[in-house]
Symmetry: C2
């Protein structure tokens, strides 16, 4: 490791939230219980698509112990929510479009009474024929699920001349890829509690990824002054994008208004979370890629269709990001890329770690593997040949102005032990009928929001009477560990011990609006905002020390945990406690703010939905797998993760992200899929939704490459999403390397691999 002059930056500072999370002493919002509490329950739609003829709540209302029963009639404001387009009703009025649709709410003295009351609500439905296939949904024969038809968004990026490119090509590949409806599978299902204070103020405690935006969505539905609503969204038992959209916040708020000042709690069962919570968009990706004999990529044609289910949520942004990334970190001169985000009656899809890039990376990185094979080239060599560098143009035609790590990550892959000794690793099979293979894939992921979207950070630092600092950032720690990094940045720059830093997050009453925790942006944005706040705090402390000791500010030195005044009588020491006492006595502020805006590209590619981004993280994955040719089962034995995340602020944190991302990628590639049939969820719970456990977790090595992103805090950029992306294709390529079958319909279940093995055997 390179020399490090810092006390905290670049050091493996243990996660500050680890002890209480690991020991279970931390209380999540859904862990709270109160004497006076009432229980909220949501009545979900019985059908994936139906007209509501009437709703009769009288039986439920007369059940003893029921506090209130609410329907769409009880929504004081706008009956809808949705981050981009508020097309999802809070409570359905005349139509339901998926089985997750909420139709009524109940609050009752006990959970059991609430459940009973829910069962007593009579909804008269007129069933309609559900639309369950995204391609069919786009056809003129499909009924329109929303006012403007079923195509929610359509993005297009074109460059060069496809016809001549395909004519000049020596290799052309054309395949269709299908990807699963992944579940976020966070530890804490959607839930929280709310209360109306005696003064009318609403407090909603509900885990989320952007308390300020949640508050605006609640305020719109309640027609209420947002300043009268406090949203506390932190801590949170995992999110991964699944709590970016409104979950139960508005239900809690509505019930709180009707529960006479008593706290109301909602906590979805896992089964309800499966049905009502958002999922990763299943994609169909048709890709046609052309290359020259020497491996130079010539053209890529892509048509991607994302099934967003009944409501848009962030679907338009997901398909836009997918199209922006679908050519990989390469320079392909001719591209014709098109994406559709389509409404169906299949639940609801939304934000999920990777945000559409996972689905398209699987396609392009399979094609890269196939091209290398066809041309007899080394797969790393092929990728190096086509990778763009800083200053060059990407496939979508924009100039890369910030750091690009692809080449470095590929060079590191080439020299790592697994790759160098790959023949040895492959031979070392555990049973004669098992086969081993090694796959590689590389990818990238934007850091921050697209053009035109707000991308700011804001932080506060407050000196407390005990001489510690309270650092406030709006961004929640949704599991990525940003709280620890925030403390590191603050302690490093304030020149104090990290024990003197408390980080508070995700509370509209205590922290400033710092944007959403998505797009791999919170370390970058929050870190920079803290860095912007520190000079203000140093000025406050310096001036206090200067006044306290009656010397000019120039004669104040910043020491570790204290300030020194060079007075005529020699050096005088001011501790933080003393400085606080002085400030307090003189009614001077002990709190400062720092603000930051993420730099952006200026020129948006027309019809691209926000591309290009200004900054990307890069990563190469290697995977060693063993395929059981008798059963089709695949085991991932070893993973190498080589990220370019700029300067690493916390190596332990980076490893945590790399390992978590890899395991999530393994689940996506091999096991996970929420199955639906006719608009009904066939997957109910973890009984038939398989996620990797420690048993399926391989050895994961992380070798970050060194780069410095000048705009980032201490040279860092984001990493939260790309860590789960190339591993998907790396495993797919490794399965091919092992067993000679290309699985293009994920997950690569034993059944699919077994079937592919059989059909290959027949063909051979």
């Amino acid at each position: 490791m390179k020399e490090n002059h810092f006390k905290y930056i670049g050091r493996p500072v243990p996660r500050m939230d680890a002890p209480e999370k690991v020991t279970g002493t931390l209380k999540y919002m859904t862990d709270y219980h109160f004497e006076q509490m009432v229980w909220g329950k949501v009545l979900r739609s019985k059908y994936p698509y139906a007209r509501i003829k009437s709703i009769n709540t009288s039986k439920a209302e007369s059940l003893p112990g029921v506090v209130c029963v609410l329907t769409h009639k009880d929504i004081p404001g706008f009956n809808g929510f949705g981050i981009v387009v508020p097309d999802q009703p809070v409570l359905a009025r005349d139509v339901v479009r998926c089985t997750g649709d909420a139709v009524a709410l109940v609050a009752a003295e006990t959970k059991e009474i609430a459940e009973h009351a829910i069962s007593l609500i009579e909804v008269d439905y007129e069933r309609l024929n559900p639309v369950t296939d995204a391609e069919f949904a786009m056809s003129s024969n499909a009924p329109s699920l929303h006012e403007n038809g079923n195509i929610h968004s359509h993005v297009i990026i074109k460059n060069g001349n496809m016809d001549t490119a395909f004519e000049e090509a020596d290799v052309i590949l054309e395949n269709t890829f299908y990807s699963p409806r992944q579940m976020h599978a966070f530890i804490e299902t959607e839930g929280g509690w709310g209360i109306q204070e005696p003064d009318g103020m609403l407090t909603i405690r509900c885990p989320g990824q952007y308390a300020y935006r949640d508050r605006l969505q609640i305020a719109r539905a309640l027609a209420m002054n947002p300043a009268r609503i406090r949203v506390i969204s932190h801590p949170i038992g995992g999110a991964f994008g699944g709590k970016d959209e409104i979950t139960v916040q508005i239900y809690l708020a509505l019930l709180a208004l009707h529960s006479g000042g008593r706290p109301v709690k909602i906590h979805l069962s896992r089964e309800e979370s499966v049905i009502a919570g958002i999922k990763r968009h299943p994609f169909k990706v048709e890709m046609k890629t052309a290359a020259k004999k020497d491996g130079t990529l010539l053209a890529n044609q892509v048509r991607a269709v994302a099934d967003t289910g009944a409501y848009a949520s962030l679907g338009g942004a997901v398909i836009a990001l997918a199209i922006e990334h679908c050519c990989g970190p390469y320079k392909i001169p001719n591209v014709d890329l098109e994406g559709f985000c389509v409404y169906t009656n299949n639940g609801i899809s939304g934000a999920f770690r990777g945000f559409g890039v996972n689905q398209v990376c699987a396609a392009i990185e399979t094609h890269m593997d196939m091209i290398a094979e066809k041309l007899g080239m080394d797969p790393i060599e092929l990728r190096k040949k086509n990778a763009y560098e800083k200053g060059e143009r990407s496939s979508i035609g924009h100039e890369l102005k910030t750091s690009v790590g692809t080449l470095k990550t590929l060079e590191t892959a080439e020299t790592c032990e697994l790759w160098k000794n790959r023949e040895m690793y492959k031979k070392n099979i555990s049973e004669p009928w098992k086969k081993r293979g090694i796959g590689i894939a590389t990818s990238f992921h934007a850091v921050g929001m697209g053009i035109g979207l707000p991308d700011y950070g804001a932080a506060t630092i407050e000196l407390l009477p005990d001489g510690t600092f309270k650092v406030g950032v709006g961004c929640e720690d949704i599991g990525g560990g940003n709280s620890t990094v925030y403390a590191q940045v603050a302690a490093e720059l304030l020149n104090c011990d990290i024990e003197k830093i408390t980080v508070i997050q995700g509370d509209t009453a205590e922290t400033l609006d710092s944007g959403t925790v998505t797009a791999s942006r919170s370390t970058y944005t929050g870190g920079k905002a803290i860095a912007a706040a520190v000079p203000h705090m140093i000025r406050v402390l310096t001036e206090a020390a200067s006044a306290q000791h009656r010397v000019e500010p120039e004669n104040i030195l910043i020491g570790e945990n204290e300030y020194y005044a060079m007075t005529k009588n020699g050096e005088q020491v001011s501790t933080y406690e003393k400085l606080y006492a002085y400030l307090h006595e003189n009614r001077l502020s002990t709190k400062v703010e720092g603000h930051f805006m993420l730099p952006k590209e200026k020129e948006e590619l027309p019809q691209s939905g926000g591309a290009p981004h200004h900054l990307y993280g890069y990563l190469t994955h290697l995977a060693l797998v063993e395929v059981d040719t008798l059963t089709g089962e695949t085991e991932v034995l070893r993973v190498v993760s080589i990220p370019d995340a700029g300067q690493v602020l916390n190596p332990q944190g980076l490893e945590g992200q790399a390992e978590g991302g890899a395991v999530m990628g393994i689940g996506y590639t091999l096991y996970e899929d929420v199955l639906m049939d006719g608009g009904y969820h066939q997957t109910a719970n973890f009984t038939n939704y398989i996620i990797p456990t420690i048993r399926e977790t391989p050895v994961i090595e992380t070798f970050p490459v060194e780069s410095t992103e000048e705009t980032g805090p201490f040279g860092a950029k984001g990493i939260g999403e790309v860590v789960m992306i190339p591993i998907i294709a790396a495993i797919m390529n490794a399965i091919y390397d092992a067993a000679g079958v290309r699985i293009m319909h994920l997950p690569a279940t034993p059944e699919r691999i077994y079937k592919a093995l059989k059909s290959r055997d027949v063909r051979q």
Copy 2:
């Protein structure tokens, strides 16, 4: 006048802002000049409808003295604004839809250089055939000006059975009414100034009707944290709805970002204000009304089409309010009401005092007059017969739950001197060829926002060191005089002299979000919020006095301008200064908040766009006119305004509203219309847009009827809009009474009256 126990409420307290407004010492935002200031100018579209092929700013940029030239490429965030649907581009990118569209911005050292630079910007347009007729715009032959076609909104309210109603009718009237494109004609045209502070914060000083919403619209366009933008929207040189939408705030913000920390000022000339500012929606109203022989109204069929011009702004809400009010304050059992808000290339229409009700009241109240005539009934008798009362159902079918003053206002009209002596007044002509007539009309107007829209008030009261109170309300005083009423409410309830009250308004840094100043709501909402804050201040003061004199709070008495403590040593006095000193010393807060939410109806009429409202103000107007039969000129000689505004908080303020509203109604009925031809404004300035002056202002008498609205502050409700509504039809009916011609195409210009007189003479 009835007995009044109050010191300030119900008293004619002079407007607090009157002296500095009348003497011209008050500085409006657009009056400011600074040494370092740069001037901003907006390049508007050359054509009402065209495609932009290219924009070349290089010549403008190289002009010495130019600070920056900005186009759509320089918008960091979302390139659009609009209160309901942000369909208006901040700076046009590929298409212009009206001559008010902004295409580029310039900041320069002087106004002259800025103007010169604007003229140097080369825009290559491809002209398109403008759509200038709202009925044609709805046809399938019209090009679509926006993605979803030209019908921006369509509202429908139906009740009863129209066919049988028309069969049973003894009188049926069917007419089409046209109303003008009125200009707000505020004293201060759109303008203001902005600056980026050294810490990055933006301060925008621009008169507006809702600083908090303006801030959100600016933040969206700039992709900026709203907390980093301060909007100061008060004082304001008149608004009348015309500054409800964004005017130049976003231009100021964009230019401020590119002017190196120097203040940027924009101030539209009257000519630019005419072209770019919003106007009142011109309506076509087709109305068919049926009554029985005894005068009982049977049915009303209405089809109203509002021309919203190039962008929606509040057009959807305007047509919804028009349809809600188009049957007058009557109970008509059968109605079939339909309204369309339609895009054309005729400038932009938006909010304007009356908000669509003016246009439909003209129609129904003309029909009422015609029915009375046909049946030989007294016009007041006919109205009384059909007027609904509290607890009854309106024509749109909802039950009136709040105070209804129509009958009282009609009874007052019957007994007023002008009506009683109407024959005498009519005979008293000034020349033999002039004819006099008296007309009556009654109407109503919703107070507050429709169902589903936020409708809250928030106020702060702060005790200052000098023992005065700073009362903060977000709502601006757009000319209606709410600041004086706020001071009255605060002084009355705090039991202090009104001189001790300072009211601050419209500043996101100093006042809470209190909603928009529209919908005749600000006295009601702000007044209630102050009333909600006072008890908190009294508690603070009582506790301070109690602690100061070491007695229990029960032993504190609230005196006029001071607090008394009943101690063992007798009565001790605490002045506000002393109480402040105590609070300050003990680090106790000297500031309190008050919040209020306007009560709402629960059940929205489907497809009505937010109807019904919970509360309405009512008003009957009488007008005496004299028509010159040789020239067609009409003079309004006398107006009686009989409002039901609940309890009157300030009789002088109410008279001011009644007089201003009447004069604005006279202008609307007789003179005002912004004429257009092929999408170009034919009206340029007040040279050819005639508004009433003191010469045209008649004697206006105001006789408020007594009612008490339980939910309002001291029993008050709103009055700002209804004061200009029935006068329109009253004048129309008076013209008929005088000269025997019905003018259904407003304004009733001399030309139109003359022509009508001629054609009547021919027919006779």
